[in-house]
């Protein structure tokens, strides 16, 4: 049950190893890594700046994690989200869910990402040769949340 918000890069292999270190009851770890794309709507992106709300970000991520833990049989979860200026190809986010069996781990990892997209206070600004643009929230991200309700 780990939430980290940081500027520095992370090492997926080291995080995966740490998640199950010293235990043999975990049968499945599903992880998702988000990367910064170098293109959006046909425009080349020089870099992306992620802004966040220190304090609320950690609370929101812990709340999302608690919802996942209440919903599935999870032995460990991990959310790492970066902020600051990131170049195309850089890692921006890592979520992982560990469970005795794969079903719960797959579902929980997807749930964590869907909630994080539109319920954690992060904002992206893409810088292109024409200037900077704040990324709009997508209707599809909101729709992705609805399938988890009820």
């Amino acid at each position: 049950m780990v939430v980290r918000v940081l500027e520095a890069d992370f090492d997926i292999g080291a995080e995966r190893t740490a998640l199950s270190a010293g235990r043999t009851d975990i049968g499945a770890v599903v992880s998702f890594t988000g990367l910064v794309r170098g293109e959006a709507g046909g425009a080349k992106i020089d870099d992306m700046t992620l802004e966040h709300y220190p304090g609320m970000t950690e609370r929101a991520l812990q709340d999302i994690e608690a919802q996942a833990l209440a919903r599935w049989d999870l032995q460990a979860t991990l959310i790492i989200h970066r902020y600051g200026r990131l170049r195309p190809g850089a890692q921006s986010v890592l979520v992982a869910a560990a469970s005795p069996h794969r079903g719960d781990a797959f579902a929980a990892a997807e749930f964590l990402m869907d909630y994080l997209k539109s319920r954690a206070p992060f904002w992206k600004k893409e810088r292109t040769p024409d200037g900077g643009t704040w990324v709009d929230a997508r209707d599809s991200d909101e729709a992705a949340l609805e399938r988890w309700s009820g």
Binding site: G34, H81, W123
Partner: protein, 81 residues
């Protein structure tokens, strides 16, 4: 109370944070008070459907009361991931 602004709301208002003395009863009242104060607030809060609010770091609504509140934040819909 502290009032915080993020992303394009911050850019339009021109600062990330300020301390305000207000008698506004709700978030909506605070928004109206600020809009009447200066153009840059009116610009940032022109379409409140595009603005989200957090009261003491919890997502809230325009009718959320401000009594006893320490921190209010305004920002666009979130785009994490």
């Amino acid at each position: 109370m502290d009032v915080l602004y993020f992303a394009w709301v911050r850019e339009r208002i021109g600062l990330p944070k300020e301390e305000l003395q207000t008698d506004a009863a709700t978030v909506g009242d605070l928004v109206e008070e600020l809009k009447a104060r200066e153009d840059r607030y009116a610009f940032a809060f022109a379409d409140m459907r595009a603005v989200r609010v957090a009261v003491d770091q919890e997502l809230s609504e325009l009718d959320t009361p401000l009594k006893g509140v320490r921190e209010v934040a305004f920002f666009p819909p979130m785009t994490g991931g």
